[in-house]
C-alpha cells in the first residue's frame, strides 16, 4: 500500500478511491461471449452454460452453435487474404503487440486460471510463459522463408525457388488442459504462418480464451483473423470437420474418442491435419518450456510453393 500511495501522491490525485476488493461492493461481472469477426456476439442459439468458479460463484459461458461456427468461417475466409498479404514484418509486429497487451492483462489471465482451479504460482507461471510464447512466435514470420524455403539448384538452366505460404482458414481444437499456454502455443503458430483461425476453446476452462479474445479485440490483429468459440466440442466437432471452407485442422486438443471422426471429416475435403504427437498427453505441462516452442505448430499449415523460370536472354 505504501508504494501505491507514493505513486498517487506524485500524480496528485485525491486519495478517495475505495479498494476494489471491498466486501460491500457488488462486483460487475463480465459476460463471456463469443468472438467472431472482431465483435462479441452472444450465441445465436441463445444458449449459455454455467461454469463454477474456484473463488465462488459462476461464470456464464456462451454456448456456441453450428450456426455461430458457420459465421466464424465466413468472416475468417474474408479476413484470410488481407492477413496473408501483410508483410511478414508487420505480422510479426502485430503478434508482438498481442504480447504487449497480454502483459497488461496479466492479472486477469491469472485470475481466470485461478478461477479454473490453478494455484497462484501455477497461474502466474502459465501467464508469463504464454506471453513469452507469443513473443517467440512474433519473431517467426520474417524468418520462415529462410528456414523452410530457398533456391533449388536444378540440373537445367532455370532459376527455381521455394517459399512457404499460408494454407488459409484453420480451425483449432485448443488444448483442454493448458487453457492459456496451450491455446497461445497453438494459435501463435497458425497466425505466425499467415493463416486465420477459428478456435474452439478449452471446454472445462474457457475463461482465458475469453480474456484472450478481449485482448485481441483491442490489439492490431484485424477483425476475423482470430475467432474464438466456446462450445460443447462433441456437439460442434462433427460439423466443424466437414465444413468444406476450412483448409486445415489443428486437432491438438481433440479428445481421443473424437479423433477418428475428426480426421475422417477433414479427409473428405483433403484438409490439412495437425495432431498431438504420438505419446504426448493433453496435460497442463504439455507446452512448458522448449516442449511448446515447436516450429511444427507453424509448418503444419504452410504450403510450399515452387516457382520456375528459365535463365537466358
Amino acid at each position: 500500500m505504501g508504494k501505491k500511495s507514493k505513486r498517487t501522491e506524485k500524480l496528485n490525485l485525491p486519495l478517495t478511491i475505495e479498494p476494489a476488493e471491498s466486501s460491500d461492493r457488488l462486483e460487475v461481472r463480465r459476460t463471456a461471449k463469443l468472438y467472431i469477426g472482431g465483435a462479441f456476439p452472444r450465441s445465436e442459439s441463445g444458449r449459455s452454460r454455467e461454469v463454477q468458479l474456484a473463488k465462488g460463484g459462476v461464470a456464464n459461458i456462451a454456448g456456441g452453435s453450428r450456426k455461430d461456427l458457420r459465421e466464424a468461417v465466413r468472416v475468417a475466409r474474408i479476413a484470410a487474404e488481407p492477413w496473408a498479404a501483410r508483410t511478414a514484418m508487420v505480422r510479426g509486429q502485430i503478434l508482438y503487440r498481442v504480447a504487449e497487451l497480454m502483459e497488461g492483462r496479466a492479472a486477469q489471465f491469472r485470475d481466470d486460471l485461478i478461477n479454473h482451479g490453478a494455484s497462484k504460482s501455477d497461474a502466474a507461471a502459465e501467464v508469463s510463459a504464454a506471453i513469452d510464447r507469443m513473443v517467440w512466435y512474433a519473431g517467426w514470420p520474417d524468418k520462415l522463408s529462410a528456414v523452410l524455403g530457398g533456391t533449388n539448384p536444378v540440373a537445367s538452366s532455370h532459376f527455381v525457388f521455394t517459399l512457404p505460404e499460408p494454407t488459409g482458414v484453420i480451425a483449432s481444437i485448443a488444448p483442454e488442459a493448458s487453457p492459456l499456454l496451450g491455446l497461445v502455443s497453438r494459435l501463435g503458430g497458425i497466425l505466425a504462418g499467415g493463416n486465420v483461425a477459428i478456435v474452439l476453446a478449452s471446454e472445462s476452462a474457457p475463461l482465458p480464451a475469453v480474456t484472450l479474445a478481449e485482448t485481441l479485440a483491442v490489439s492490431d490483429v484485424p477483425a476475423g483473423v482470430v475467432n474464438i468459440i466456446t462450445a460443447r466440442r462433441a456437439e460442434l466437432l462433427p460439423h466443424l470437420v466437414r465444413h468444406a471452407d476450412i483448409d486445415g485442422y489443428d486437432l491438438w486438443g481433440c479428445p481421443d474418442e473424437l479423433l477418428v471422426e475428426a480426421e475422417q471429416g477433414a479427409a473428405e475435403h483433403v484438409a490439412r491435419v495437425a495432431r498431438r504427437p504420438h505419446g504426448v498427453k493433453d496435460r497442463a505441462d504439455a507446452f512448458d518450456g522448449e516442449r511448446g516452442e515447436r516450429i511444427d505448430g507453424i509448418t503444419a499449415f504452410l504450403e510450399m510453393k515452387t516457382v520456375w523460370h528459365p535463365i537466358g536472354s
Partner: protein, 519 residues
C-alpha cells in the same frame, strides 16, 4: 481456317458418353483437312525410327518381391499387363493378397529393426548411390520396358522418366548422412515401415520419388505399383538385388487397390505416401484416420496455363503443347486449362492448331513419336466420356487430322474452345490429351479463373514482364508455378499441391521432412 466454328444452325450435339463416338464426334469440319497435318505425303512425315526391344527380356510371369526374394502370390492368382500400344499381353503379374501385404510388412518391419536402423547413415547413402548408378547403367532397358508397359513415347521415358529416377536416388543418397541439417535444432528419426502406393503415369519415376527419400531417411518400404504398369517396379527389384540392398528394406507387392489398402491401414506401417486420384486419396486418408500415421498425398490437378498478350507467342505455344500433350496428358500437373488473353486469343489459337497438326501420334517405341498410347482401355473410355461431355455442354471441339494406329489405345489430341468454367472439361481432371481454352481480359480475371478450381497442383504463366510473373505466381494457389516454361521436374525442387491436390512435398529438403519425425 474456320475449323472451330460449328456450321450455322447446328445444334449442340448430345453425344452419348462413349469413347467410340468421340473420335469423330461432330461435323466433319471440326477436323482439320488432312493436307494441314502429317498424314499422307506431307513433307513433315518422318520415316519410322523404332527403338529396339532387344535389350529387354520380359518374362512370362512375375512374382512379388518380398524380403529380398521373389514369391508367388498366396492366392495363386495373376493378372495380365498389356502393351497399350499393341494391346498385346506382356506378362502375368502376381495378384498380391492381404496375406502377401502382411508378409511384406513383416519383412520390412524386421529389416527396419534388425538391419536398416542399425546401419550407419553413411552406409545407407552408399546403397542409394549404388542404386542410382545401376539405374543409369541399365537406363536403356528401363526406358524400353517403361514404354512397352505404359505406352509413353520412348523419347520421354529415355530422356525424362529414367534419368530423373536415377537423379532422385542420387540426390537423396547424399541426404542420408546429413539429416540433422534438414531439421535444424531437432533430432530427426525414421518412422519405421513406410507404405507407398503409386500410379501408372510415371511408374518408375514415382517409385523413385517415393523410395529414395524414404530409404535416405532410414525407413524401410512396402510399395504397391499400379496394376497396369508393374514391370519397371519389378525390374527395380532386380536393381535392389544387384545393389545387395539388405533383404526386406524394399518390398514390392503388385495387386489391386484393395491390397494397397491393406498395406496402408496396417498398424505396423507408420507412414503412408500416395500418388493418384483425389478420390482414392480421400479413401486412404479416411481409412487411416485416427491411427496416428504420417500421410502425404499427391493427387489430381487442373492446372491453368496462362498466356498474357505480351508473351513470346511461339514459345508459349510450345509450352502449352508440352503442358498438355507431354505423356499423352496423363500427368497430374498437366496444363489442361489454357487461359489466353482475349486480345491475342485468335492468333494464339491459330498457331496452336498449326503446332498441334505437326504432332506425331503413334508407336511409342518410335523415337520421333510425340504422343504415344493411352495407358489402358479404361482410361481411353474415361477420356472419351469427358470429351463427349464437352461437346454435349456446348464447347467447340477441334482435333488435327492424323492417322491413328489401328491397334492400341490412341486418342487424338483435342482442343476445346468456347469453354465455360462450369463445363466438366474445365473442372474435372481428364488425364488425357485434351485442352480446354478459356479467355480472360485482365490480370485479376486470369488469377481468379486460374484459382477457380478445387485443385491446386501446378500452373503456368507466359509473359515477358518480370514483375507480372512474380505478382501472378504469388497469387496462384498452386504448389508449382512454371513461368515461361512448363512440366519441369528436378530432385532438388519440391513438388506437390495446394487444396484438393493433396499435401506434403516430394523433392528437395522439403520432400525429406515427410519421411522423418523429429523429437
Amino acid at each position: 481456317m474456320p475449323s472451330d466454328q460449328t456450321p450455322k444452325g447446328a445444334a449442340p450435339r448430345r453425344t452419348p458418353a462413349r469413347a467410340a463416338s468421340v473420335v469423330t464426334p461432330a461435323p466433319a469440319a471440326i477436323v482439320a483437312p488432312a493436307s494441314s497435318g502429317l498424314a499422307g505425303n506431307s513433307p513433315w512425315a518422318y520415316a519410322p525410327a523404332p527403338e529396339s526391344r532387344e535389350i529387354v527380356t520380359i518374362r512370362q510371369r512375375y512374382g512379388l518381391f518380398i524380403d529380398g526374394k521373389e514369391r508367388a502370390p498366396s492366392g495363386g492368382e495373376v493378372t495380365i499387363t498389356y502393351n497399350p500400344a499393341t494391346e498385346e499381353p506382356l506378362a502375368e503379374i502376381a495378384k498380391g493378397t492381404p496375406a502377401d501385404a502382411d508378409r511384406a510388412i513383416e519383412a520390412a518391419d524386421r529389416a527396419y529393426r534388425k538391419v536398416w536402423s542399425k546401419l550407419h547413415p553413411r552406409e545407407r547413402a552408399k546403397y542409394l548411390y549404388r542404386i542410382s548408378r545401376i539405374l543409369q547403367e541399365r537406363s536403356r532397358e528401363f526406358a524400353v520396358t517403361e514404354t512397352m508397359d505404359s505406352g509413353k513415347p520412348i523419347r520421354e521415358s529415355r530422356d525424362v522418366d529414367v534419368p530423373l529416377a536415377a537423379a532422385h536416388f542420387w540426390y537423396y543418397a547424399g541426404w542420408a548422412d546429413k539429416l540433422q541439417y534438414a531439421v535444424p535444432g531437432r533430432r530427426p528419426e525414421a518412422h519405421g515401415v513406410v507404405g507407398q502406393v503409386i500410379p501408372w503415369n510415371f511408374p518408375l519415376l514415382m517409385l523413385a520419388w517415393k523410395i529414395a527419400p524414404a530409404l535416405a531417411a532410414g525407413n524401410t518400404v512396402v510399395l504397391k505399383p499400379a496394376s497396369t504398369t508393374p514391370l519397371t517396379a519389378l525390374l527395380f527389384a532386380d536393381v535392389c538385388r544387384q545393389a545387395e540392398l539388405p533383404d526386406g528394406v524394399v518390398n514390392i507387392v503388385t495387386g489391386p487397390g484393395s491390397t494397397g489398402m491393406s498395406i496402408v491401414t496396417d498398424p505396423r506401417v507408420a507412414k503412408v505416401a500416395f500418388t493418384g486420384s483425389t478420390s482414392v486419396g480421400v479413401t486412404i486418408a479416411k481409412g487411416i484416420a485416427g491411427q496416428g500415421k504420417g500421410l502425404t498425398l499427391e493427387l489430381g490437378g487442373k492446372a491453368a496455363n496462362i498466356v498474357f498478350e505480351d508473351a513470346a507467342l511461339d514459345q508459349a505455344v510450345e509450352g502449352v503443347v508440352n503442358g498438355i500433350f507431354f505423356n499423352q496428358g496423363e500427368v497430374c500437373c498437366a496444363g489442361s486449362r489454357l487461359l489466353v488473353q482475349e486480345s491475342i486469343a485468335e492468333e494464339f489459337l491459330a498457331r496452336l492448331r498449326d503446332r498441334m497438326s505437326m504432332l506425331r501420334i503413334g508407336d511409342p517405341m518410335d523415337k520421333n513419336t510425340d504422343i504415344g498410347a493411352i495407358n489402358s482401355k479404361a482410361q481411353m473410355e474415361s477420356i472419351g466420356e469427358l470429351v463427349a461431355s464437352g461437346v454435349a455442354e456446348g464447347a467447340q471441339i477441334w482435333q488435327p487430322a492424323c492417322d491413328l494406329p489401328t491397334r492400341g489405345w490412341f486418342f487424338r489430341p483435342t482442343l476445346f474452345t468456347n469453354v465455360a468454367q462450369s463445363h466438366r472439361i474445365a473442372r474435372e481432371e481428364i488425364f488425357g490429351p485434351v485442352l480446354a481454352t478459356i479467355t480472360f481480359r485482365t490480370v485479376a480475371e486470369a488469377i481468379e479463373k486460374a484459382n477457380n478450381t478445387a485443385y491446386g497442383l501446378s500452373a503456368g504463366i507466359w509473359t515477358e514482364k518480370g514483375s507480372r510473373i512474380l505478382q501472378v505466381a504469388s497469387a496462384l494457389k498452386a504448389g508449382v508455378v512454371w513461368a515461361n516454361t512448363f512440366n519441369r521436374f528436378d530432385p532438388t525442387a519440391p513438388f506437390g499441391g495446394y487444396k484438393e491436390s493433396g499435401y506434403g512435398r516430394e523433392g528437395g529438403m522439403q520432400g525429406l521432412h515427410a519421411y522423418l519425425r523429429s523429437s
